[in-house]
Amino acid sequence: MTREIFQPSGQIQFGIFFQGVNSGTIWKAAESGSQTDFESFRHIAQTAERGKFAAFFLGEGLRLREHLGRPHALDVVGRPDAQTMLAALAAVTRNIGLVATQNTTYNDPADLAHRLSSLDLISGGRAAWNIVTTDNAWTGANFRRGGYLDHADRYKHAEAFVETAKRIWDSWETAVGPARRVFHEGQHYTVDVTPRLPRSAQYRPVLFQAGDSPDGRDFAARQADVIFSAHPKFDAAVEFRRDIVARSIAAGRGANAVQIMPASEFILGATDQEAQEKKAWVRSLQIGPQQAIAYLEQFWGRELSSYDPDGPLPEIDPVVEETSETRGSGFHGAKARQLADQWRAEAKDKGLSIRQFVISKTARIDSTFTGSYTAVADHLAQYARVGAVDGFNISPWLIPTGLDEIVNHLVPELQERGVYPTEYRGSTLRENLGLETPARSEDPAQV
């Protein structure tokens, strides 16, 4: 069997992405619980574990999202620190992986590597790091360094950071030490440390990567175990797999070296019709009238509260000068006017109101699986057969009960089809994902 040819595992796994911050989680329904109480996290994590989920994910955002110069008021906001929460969840779960999203710009490599090792040891080998690469000065205003990193340096910096972390994790010759000193001198920081922690049961934390640019994909192909991708639709997933396999081989790793778990949302019912009705209800609560207006305001850069959410898109033009990073991504300068024209034409064409248009534009639409338990299970089984993905990272639209029907009804269907685990393979995340023990990186003492 050659390492140059991708072998589908025939299986899929689930992760749960407790978002904590967004418009995707409904807070307006009577069933919506707290986003910060520990009980919400416990319920979700323990339900996921009952459903043999591979991993529990927490995202990260190091500054509150703003809207027209003030914190954004409409969506769920405010969430606990990922590793602190995961250390607490380690005490009340046994098998599920614990994944912390942590960026490489506003952390120190020695400190972050140490804390991830700690989480890995405390959880008995279940920790993982979802590597993200925030670089904006706006986030930097909360940190000692300020906004110090150029956009172009993002992944260069991330790579040096991850290499250093790996050398720190690899520095203990055996499980009992002693450690070898790790030294790194880089453009942005110098690290000189004698690591304090031994290897965990899974050797070192599993590495996830989230980021989609060509640089991001190459970085993942070189460094990561799993990609938290943005491509759940079947054709896009197959294409993304092909791309990652090619990049992994080019990076000198095997075709199967990097697993892929796209972000996803599930809206299920006993019948397709029930699921479709539920979807309409979910969308109406995710994007209310005020959110629809606020969404356009982000791109228009001005107040639009006098517009009717059930009427057509605003005829006035966006304010271009005010464009800033606080107004969300993918939107710069003159593009604003162009985009507004395009959107107005599109909405008019399809006969959509502001609200309908915004619902149609929200990215999550593309990541949604809607249907009866059996139909969705059949669909997912196809992914498993061709190896389009290794699993899905599910964002529940309701906290804390949003996983209940997935675990109670979808998981058994998948298990019946033989494409989903019926038991945890082992006690570590690495074992449960079926990842190989990583080779020790070259002489850790080397600069």
Binding site: V77, M85, A141, L197
Partner: protein
Amino acid sequence: MSTSEARKAGFLAIELDGAGHENLATAVLAAESAGFHAASFKDTPEAGRTNALQRAAFAGPLTRTIAVVPEVDTVYTEPFHVSTQLASLDYVSGGRAGWIATAAESPEAAAAVGRSFAQGEALAQEAAASIEVGRRLWDSWEDDAVIRDVATGRYIDVDKLHYADYETPAGFAGTAYSVKGPSIIPRPLQGQLPVLAAASLVGEGLVPADAVDAVLVSAPTPELLSAEIVDVRSRLGASVAIVAELDVVLDSRGQSAASRQVPPSESGHARFVGSATALTELLDSLLQDADGVRLHPAVLDVDLEELSRLVLPELRRRGALRAPVQDGTFRAVLGLAPAENRFSTTAAATVAAGK
């Protein structure tokens, strides 16, 4: 104090580092059922020692009564991260978290993060800055900022969120910095976590006494400890609680403490070596002056067993210990009033009204 007046009951904390991370659950549950009011976790750069804050977080959901109090350095950490992590600890422990703010005087810690080595007065300045950032960020969401108002579609009331806008003061010995805020997590359950620091870090020209809720006092011997408590009390005033630090080696399992061959400690704390009865006397007398005592057992499971069986029950019988409260807060253990929010719109109105 007149004899008819009930004595002020104190509290006991225990340092749980001896449990490592493998036996943490057992140790913290044993400490809780023994009736300790708080468990603390050290953050020293010892080989094999996992992160103190994460151990405290792990202990949080396993317990209902005992406070969980990690040491967290202020010099080589990011104040924004530290504030968020501690607020999160308060959530996972149901309002039983505290913070022992330390200032690492360590060239190794500096080199690890590529910063220049801080010494002398710079240490207290870094600690003071970090504590101030933490406190401002904890207050940056008012308690009722999450409104979930379906009619207006607002999840939060933006008027109840505030920028921390912290800047290090002029003449700051370290590298100057600023922190914008608001926090990325709502106000902790306790409003403000109790902050503790070594007495040597607190005072005029150091960390201001009103920035901390309690100080940790140590002396070279048990005999000198009482005098030191009185000294610190007169230096810092009555508003800061005093926690005496004591290493303990007890007679146990048929062995006298002196014969247990416990290696000398470099903690700098007074060390008690002897019987449970004699320790009970010492603690009873320390708790007359101090608000609490933190015990550092020489061998955790051995000494904890003796403390639990012989020492705490007798202290409770004498009325020297306050009753642990299930689902209580760490603030309540320290006798602190609910924390007012510095940014609170209602508090500001009260001040304006000339209260």
